[in-house]
Symmetry: C4
Subunit: 192 residues, 4 copies
């Protein structure tokens, strides 16, 4: 099976997720600078989530650039990833509207953690559906960035109960780790 339609559907869902979050930002009733202040934390959480979804889109794009074939399990692993990503707007607005309190920040971290796990499962399913020589297999085996990310997410969730801003900091650190898509994939693409 060809991955064209899976990519198109994922693009559609990711495009909606990224723009739904703008809907959360209601235009203030008044036209003073003060009226913009309550919008500010929503704006910041929107900005972080935008970069997060953008980073997932970038890595998803790289992943399927190198994928040669898909099967039914890959379709469901991809839908599973989209499910967790589609909860990001909900978590984002809960954090933003409550000015970064403990439980929303922990919930936000949980959604990010589950998204990361879902991405890893997707990667595994793609590797399994290819043979021994598949280039992604080597990348997958040598990757320690994934395990590190999961650890930082868990740390962030725990920290958010006492210091919500430290939780946010942890999520931003993982974001920076993944902001630049895997050089290994780009190099493999260049070789072919």
């Amino acid at each position: 099976m060809d991955s064209g339609r899976l990519e198109a559907f994922s693009d559609g869902v990711l495009a909606i997720i990224i723009t739904i979050m703008v809907l959360e930002m209601e235009a203030p009733d008044e036209t003073t600078l003060e009226a913009l202040i309550p919008v500010a934390p929503i704006f910041i959480s929107y900005l972080i989530s935008f970069i997060y979804v953008g980073t997932y889109w970038n890595n998803h794009h790289h992943l399927f650039q190198i994928t040669e074939q898909i099967n039914g399990k890959v379709l469901w692993a991809n839908l599973h990833l989209l499910f967790w990503l589609s909860l990001i707007p909900f978590a984002t607005s809960w954090v933003g509207e409550n000015h970064v309190e403990s439980l929303p920040v922990a919930a936000y971290g949980f959604v990010l953690l589950m998204s990361a796990i879902a991405f890893y499962i997707l990667l595994k399913m793609i590797v399994r559906s290819h043979d021994e020589d598949f280039s992604l297999r080597k990348i997958d085996e040598s990757s320690k960035k994934g395990i590190l990310s999961l650890a930082i997410y868990v740390l962030g969730i725990v920290l958010s109960f006492t210091h919500p801003w430290l939780g946010i900091l942890c999520y931003v650190i993982v974001l920076i780790l993944w902001f630049i898509p895997s050089k290994k994939i780009e190099n493999t693409l260049k070789k072919n």
Copy 2:
């Protein structure tokens, strides 16, 4: 006529349907675990509907993988399917916001029943637009899963008036039946 644009349009509509349902889940005003409790039934109904729409997308994807040509009737049969599927968010939020009461659950079952009938009509229209040797024709003729599903839906709608949760159970049973796309289609694809 080529089916490329029909698939792209369907992907767009299905992507929106699946993500619209997240919009139904408003972030709670408070930041306590108790504040999440009223969101829980909405979350569960969202989860079931997400898997339902995902399953339809998977089966739709398989169906058009094997389809060789389309005509005006197929276009309308597809729009008819999308119409019923687009009512799923409405039914989902009616069920979720009322904590699984009789009429919403029956209405939810009715939308699922009509979606299943619409999918069957689409299948018939595609088979009719192909000649005798078309591989889908044999799959269609030997399929008893479709009739079984309709019967379980009707049972679920009836049951929901006395035991709403049994209604939900019926819908979940049909979901499991269709969760894995037709092996027959995958085998036919492999043969070619």
Copy 3:
């Protein structure tokens, strides 16, 4: 220029228009059959608008199936059409929420009239960007259905001020006229 991306963008906008209208239908607070009654007119207006947008998508699909090349003017003529079509959800909910009163029905007819004119302009722009032998040119010249539609729309708008339901009837008549995409285009496609 190739029309692939124009079609993809149009599909996206039309998919959103068709599903936005479902958002207008809020799940009723109560779970009785009576609670569904105020939703009924919104449902009917949603149904008509769904078929309208579906019909436009079908005809748009047929039109670009036969189009060989596009230019900047075609891009803007297409955006002009999408603009008027994007007002359909607004007009639909105004009609539905007010149980078919004069001004909303007239406004709905005005949006449909402008959409029809926009479709005609798009057709003209496509014909102009092709040479003398272009098959769509003959179809365009011999078409009286377009002028008839405009006349019925104007009649519907006028009638809606005294008998709103007669206005709706006029719009439904035009819908039936265009429900089946041009046989002439299908025949031309078959010849090639």
Copy 4:
């Protein structure tokens, strides 16, 4: 890397941005002409924003028509552009709901200014990822329209604090400048 998926994702986001703005226009409760008056400024701001996003889509389309290859930096430059464009609905409704007051008009201008800068960065990133002979390089170097636009935007933002309508006028002037996509790109496309 091929630009197909970048274009598809951008089309999705732009399609949503353009149609989200319609959602801002709520159908009035009453059915009189007077009830439409408060909708009027929202409609006008929606119209201008629609043409703006349409113009960006047109120029984006032209830009990638001529682009031969993309890399990771182009992906992020494109997401950066989409971020600023996705703020247009927010700014549009703030202007429209407050009947063109100073701060909303300045904020609207700021979002347009940042979008223009983001488009310029995207152009630069594309030029950098190609070699010396790349046709876009010459267009980029000889373009004074970009700098002129930025100057008019800044002027519009400053003016909006004393005369909001003059600010709007400035934005409309830039819109007219870019309404017709670059002739230079079209000529280059024709030569190939």
